[in-house]
């Protein structure tokens, strides 16, 4: 990953964390949904990833994004996060 891509990924992690908060999901609830979608990262990795440290690969980041988007869908919010 280039430096630019790495920077973009870091920003995407921060954006994911902000979206999680807006979706009123605890980190635990997000992790549970992530597991339900087939995520393979550990709870520790999800916590670190949401803290801005992109420890998960892009594919797993997208699973987390899907989990947050499904929460927005449930509560009828129009917001959707972009996938990497």
């Amino acid at each position: 990953m280039t430096a630019v891509e790495s920077g973009r990924f870091h920003l995407a992690c921060l954006a994911l964390e902000q979206a999680r908060i807006r979706a009123e999901l605890t980190v635990g609830a997000l992790f549970l949904r992530y597991i339900g979608l087939g995520g393979v990262g550990s709870a520790r990795q999800v916590v670190d990833h949401c803290s801005g440290d992109p420890v998960l690969p892009v594919s797993q980041h997208n699973v987390l994004v899907q989990a947050v988007n499904e929460r927005f869908l449930e509560v009828g919010a129009p917001e959707r996060m972009a996938f990497l």
Partner: protein, 361 residues
């Protein structure tokens, strides 16, 4: 145990029980004196140890200075070494004596426990002649709390224990905060539930004050208390004393209050308040346990649901990988893109795919 039980002392006992109790007391006094003597001996030992440590250091300094000045005196060195050996031997002897004192203290503790067990054994005299045994409702409540009974059953037993044990109690009720509203959860009489409900409707009364944070609210006349004038017109409130005990955290979901209502014209004394507080504490324990149990059940259900979803999505990914010769990540991307397009959850897409062997349109 009532606070004044110790004040009754031996006078409350029968002759044989009184004599036995007196012997126990003398032994207690002698043992307390022995404990005090040994504590003093331990303190003396500590002072001696500290003094000898200082002496050792001084002698070492003296020897070092003498050596530095070239003033060696073999005889003096030998005397100092001899004194050091004697001090070490004295130290060992003191340790042995301290060990003997420890063992004696342990023996005294064992005798105390044995005396305590004899006093409580079935053959021992009753602690207070003619005292009332605990009501059966207390024993049933204890059994329900330890046996994991349902919350409603436990609350019912708490109220039964209140009515059985609080003097001049006419009825009792428990109100809980459920989804932001205070609602009666259990009662021993419909009119008590009605009085609780009227307090909630009028937003006035000791029940709400207790819940809001005052913890314990007592009134000698519910309908005549100046603090809550709105209750003056409520049927059944006049000349009725009440005690309201908060349950759980002030004003929080799952919290509430236990309210005890007196017979008309009666009021509650300090003993009644103590009993009420004790039973309210047991009700609070039951509420906390029930809340924990619900949380665990909800978590277990959430995990079960997540694993079922993971399974379905795994199957769907497998089908896509085989059908289209794509990777697992590509299969998931396909599912999530379809989910975005149709505004459905990935799991719903996956279930459709597995059932119909094709993606939903």
């Amino acid at each position: 145990m009532p606070e004044d039980w110790d004040d009754d002392g031996p006078a409350a006992f029968g002759d044989s029980a009184g004599g036995g109790r007196a012997r126990g007391s003398d032994a207690d006094v002698r043992e307390a004196e022995a404990d005090a003597r040994e504590a003093a001996a331990d303190r003396r030992e500590l002072r001696i140890d500290a003094r000898e440590l200082v002496l050792d250091r001084w002698e070492q300094e003296i020897a070092a200075r003498a050596a530095a000045l070239g003033l060696t005196d073999d005889a003096a060195d030998q005397r100092r070494a001899q004194r050091r050996v004697e001090r070490v031997a004295d130290g060992h002897a003191r340790r042995d004596q301290a060990e003997v004192r420890r063992e004696a203290a342990i023996e005294r503790d064992i005798r105390r426990v044995e005396r305590g067990s004899r006093d409580r054994s079935p053959g021992a005299p009753a602690p207070e002649a003619g005292s009332d045994p605990l009501p059966d409702s207390f024993l049933q409540l204890a059994g329900a709390l330890t046996g994991g009974a349902a919350l409603t059953d436990v609350l019912g037993l708490v109220l039964a224990a209140v009515v059985d044990s609080v003097p001049d109690c006419d009825a009792a009720s428990i109100a809980l905060i459920t989804q932001g509203r205070v609602e009666v959860a259990a009662t021993t009489a419909p009119w008590a539930a009605h009085l609780d409900e009227r307090q909630v409707e009028l937003a006035s009364g000791p029940l709400l004050s207790a819940i809001a944070g005052d913890r314990v609210m007592v009134t000698a006349d519910l309908g005549g208390d100046e603090r809550w004038p709105a209750l003056a017109a409520v049927d059944g409130a006049r000349r009725r004393a009440t005690m309201s005990f908060a349950l759980g955290s002030a004003g929080h979901e799952g919290g509430g209050a236990l309210t005890v209502y007196s017979r008309p014209g009666c009021w509650f004394g300090p003993e009644a308040a103590t009993t009420g507080q004790f039973l309210a504490a047991l009700a609070a324990v039951a509420l906390a346990r029930s809340s924990e149990r619900l949380t665990h059940e909800a978590q277990a259900q959430a995990w079960q649901s997540a694993l079922a979803s993971r399974d379905a999505i795994g199957q769907a990914k497998g089908m896509l990988m085989e059908q289209r010769s794509i990777s697992a990540d590509e299969a998931f991307d396909l599912l999530r893109v379809t989910s975005q397009r149709l505004n459905l959850k990935v799991k719903d897409i996956a279930v459709h795919l597995v059932e119909h062997r094709q993606m939903p349109r």
